[in-house]
Point group: C2
Chain length 367, copies 2
């Protein structure tokens, strides 16, 4: 148990004071900002997400805004998908790659209006990446971080909370779709999205001075649906096999290794960074695969660092996340393994800090 130091270098979220009042106990740092990671009762937080609705401070999903005459050109250069058919109000999950096809982030791209986009980021400095590409290509764009901080409501009752707050029109929003709106004058973008498979919305607050006000309104509306505090949930996300960029990936990882083929438009005429490298990887087939592992052990605490995996005595990769699954009543893990050990049914050994664990490779997602 170590204490996290607070200081000016690591920013606080606009919802920070609200999370403190709600009893936040644990933090990590993500995109140079404090990220709440627990309120002291992991089981209650898990079942709240599965059965009711949780409110999450995810302001750490920072935005990069791209705006100006060449915004379409820059967005298309950065995103390995065909954006020619991207509509205003549509979000697209986008595994950003560098010129060698390495995964460098997996944001959602939001098309806000003609020549205006947000990239809603995982944990890397895509602001620098996008500015470098824009400047080197002399694109006429502004690239900056706007005053935008998402607040998520996740779980089966999130729909009801959103309807009570905003009205029946929210039923028309499709997955990753969004609309600009406000809540009693608090400007926000409402998107059907979030880092769980339990359904829900993200409220992209557009005035950092009104974080506590927004949190309180959402909290109040959620009380009749048993809303309580939560955070991106390790157990649920492993069960659902959502990618955690930087946990499940290393510097050399490409999107085909981690199961993101369907988010790449490799055959489209659109030109983007990394396209030829990704086409070559697709031709040869990836050398590694992200897989599930079923572990034969008692309930355990989540792993705190990568665990080496071996197959027939040879190292074949690492476990990135291992958790007890309350719904499967089984220990499960995510691993990136060499292709020869990645077929379902393969028996592998895991070197945990205490001892060797036996495990079996399985398909994803678990649930």
């Amino acid at each position: 148990m170590f204490t996290i130091s607070l200081g000016s270098r690591v920013r606080k979220s606009p919802f920070f004071e609200a999370t403190v009042k709600a009893g936040v106990r644990n933090f990590s740092v993500y995109n140079h900002m404090l990220m709440p990671t627990g309120y002291g009762d992991p089981q209650a937080e898990y079942w709240r997400l599965i059965n009711a609705v949780a409110i999450w401070d995810v302001a750490i999903e920072r935005q990069v805004e791209i705006r100006g005459p060449d915004a379409d050109h820059l967005a298309q250069a950065l995103v390995p998908r065909d954006l020619s058919n991207c509509r205003i109000g549509q979000g697209k999950y986008a595994p950003l790659c560098d010129h060698a096809g390495r995964l460098i982030n997996d944001p959602v791209l939001l098309k806000l209006e003609a020549c205006r986009y947000w990239l809603s980021l995982a944990d890397s400095d895509i602001l620098l990446w996008a500015r470098a590409v824009a400047a080197e290509r002399q694109f006429a764009v502004e690239v900056f971080e706007p005053d935008v901080s998402p607040l998520a409501i996740q779980g089966p009752k999130a729909q009801a909370v959103a309807r009570d707050l905003f009205g029946d029109w929210i039923n028309d929003i499709r997955f990753f779709g969004f609309r600009q709106t406000d809540l009693d004058g608090i400007p926000l973008l409402l998107a059907r999205s979030g880092w769980s498979k339990q359904g829900g919305f993200e409220l992209y607050l557009q005035d950092g001075s009104r974080g506590e006000e927004l949190w309180n309104k959402v909290w109040e509306a959620g009380q009749r649906y048993a809303m309580g505090p939560g955070t991106p949930n390790a157990q649920e996300r492993v069960e659902s096999a959502l990618l955690s960029f930087r946990s499940d990936t290393d510097d050399d990882c490409n999107p085909l290794e981690v199961g993101l083929e369907r988010y790449l438009d490799l055959a489209a005429p659109a030109e983007y960074i990394g396209k030829s490298a990704l086409q070559e990887i697709a031709r040869q087939g990836p050398r590694r695969r992200r897989v599930g592992l079923l572990l034969d052990t008692q309930p355990m605490t989540p792993c705190q660092q990568p665990w080496p995996v071996s197959y027939n005595g040879q190292p074949v990769g690492t476990v990135s996340s291992a958790v007890w699954s309350p719904r499967l009543e089984h220990n499960i893990a995510l691993a990136l393994l060499n292709i020869e050990a990645a077929s379902p049914g393969t028996a592998v050994d895991i070197q945990s800090p205490e001892r060797i664990l036996s495990a079996e490779v399985t398909d994803l997602p678990f649930i």
Copy 2:
């Protein structure tokens, strides 16, 4: 007091186990890695740095290696200094800027050999930045993070510890100079550098599996000089006015605002990113200045977030760090202020969370 969550996304240093055994209590996250920030006795840690020698895990100073036929071209493109006279074995402090002259990191550039460099980084993903520039310009270079983790010894007795460990030749290393060597077979680069003004060395470990072994050897050699554990020290660095990138800077900050003019070669023929923007800023004069503030208050805990500063009732900037100075026996702070409030002797008000503090602008460094 909040607990920091441990997991695969935030890497551990090769010295992590050694710091735990030495009693580390507090962490932050820096370059996606756990950074020790305290061992539970701030005053002992401060005076150890001032009077004796401290051992610091600064593996979070990650390296970007640039290697290959165009390495000189890429290094010169990234660094706003004339590298034509840079010698092998020489380090140069380098305020990296983007095309608009904004400060994006302040590493030390180390020239390892012909066509081979390291950038020893502050907290931003310069790996992405350097790869973008290299690829967009089609430079023939490799850009990657090598297995390198610095361990620092800082304080007036660091010289004696280094001499006992390595021999008298270390007297010949000039500030920011370095030499490749080893310690009983542990490969490392020894540099006269470190993030304090108390003097010392950084041992750039080049085999991550041997962190605890290196720590123990250095620790043992340090015992006759009263060595103990420490971390980059907030009080000493404010007294010395060392720049903390991202604490003392914001996204729009340029190196002239924070006193780094002398590390820019604006008139040299060398071409680098941001040169014309920096020349224009120099012509017009910066609009803000990093200054010191003397505060009239009792001893206080370091500030945990930026504090607004006003002058004649108008907002003029923010305090980034405020600490009690044990040597000055005075509260001191660093602030970035609009030029009209940045002259020594100016009286300003600081909005701390509890109350308004009166302060006077002063020159840097404090000591």
